[in-house]
């Protein structure tokens, strides 16, 4: 916010004082050689750079717990009878398979986790 003019006014002009010693500036360095620029990566489509949702990485160690949770949640969802009883097993099994297909064994997944933090070599 701009100061009011009154605040900027000097109350008085002081006497001449000895100018403070100028500290020698650092020696001007020579102009550095201009290095070749790297290629500019292509602009990403809108949305790709934004995180869609938080995600949780799973591995084989989570398998038993996950499959148990699928059964428990299916029981809760289908308890009210909105979905035909005969199809519930079908749906539950499908979800288990889809989840299972992405579960790597711990060693491979740990390597995958490490890899996501490792900067690639050019």
């Amino acid at each position: 916010m701009a100061k009011k003019d009154d605040e900027k006014k000097l109350s008085k002009i002081g006497g001449l004082e000895k100018a403070p010693r100028v500290i020698d500036p650092q020696a001007i360095k020579g102009v550095e050689q201009i290095h070749a620029t790297n290629s500019v990566s292509a602009a990403q489509a809108v949305g790709l750079t934004r995180k869609r949702r938080p995600t949780r990485l799973m591995d084989l160690a989570d398998r038993e717990e996950l499959l148990k949770i699928v059964e428990e949640e299916a029981n809760k969802i289908f308890a009210a009878g909105t979905f035909p009883e005969s199809k519930r097993t079908l749906v539950t099994e499908a979800v288990k398979m889809a989840l299972d297909s992405g579960l790597l064994d711990e060693t491979d997944n740990q390597l995958a986790k490490d890899d996501t933090t490792k900067k690639p070599k050019a």
């Binding site: 990566s41 949702r53 591995d59 949770i69 909105t82 035909p84 749906v91 398979m97 995958a112």
Partner: protein, 266 residues
Amino acid sequence: MTRTQGTESTISEESIAMLVEEHRGWAESIARSVARAWSMDWREDGLDGAALEALLFCARRYDPLRGVPFRGYARKRIHEASSDEARRSKSWKTGRAGNVQPNEKAREISARLLDVFPELREGQLAIEESESTAADGGLRGAVRSLLVGASILAVQSDLAHAQPDDIMDYKKMIELLADLEPIHQAIIWKTYWEGISLRGVADEWSTDELNVMREHKILVQHLLKGMMKNKRLEPPKVRPGLRPVALKNKRELAPGQFSIIIKGRI
């Protein structure tokens, strides 16, 4: 997965070979996971070859200058290749002698579920932000979304060939869907009936994919509530991001595919 002929690689052939050698075991583990989920043999059903081919494809296209770790870049593609090969194999439909086969329909639905929730291919679960601080880290909420998605796919799978009596089994689900706004019905129809990805739907409507993804998330939550309470609820309003699309396409989208099904069959 198509391979572009004559694609120029950004890294040397030697680096490509090193990438393949370094990540070969990891790619094979992806193929093994897919085979395990679907009770198949990763070698005999050709998943090993598909995974390695995808690994080589990714190694040739990998650009380290983009700052994305190789496995983060390649994992989804290798999983897609493995699962596509699995679906082409003989044992997908006929089964393997001596083995107990999982329900063929369940397998088909799970394969399609991977297209609707592609983060599963990377071993990830999309967590609801509101549930991320829950004791289980939002795990149960994510599983519920998958169960709703699989339920919708099961409805689609059966409706295509169902007799009128069978359709009555799904009356409540179809009523829940028919109560939705036309554009919401369109999102469900395009994604689950026509197999278009959420990004594909966004492209079709020339809108940001996040608009469609957020809308889809809300729809899944709404359907979940309806299924758990077994009653018809006030349908969600169209979010501001998608309202221009809803208005622009009002004529084409109304009255909604599920509204038509309800009027015609039930």
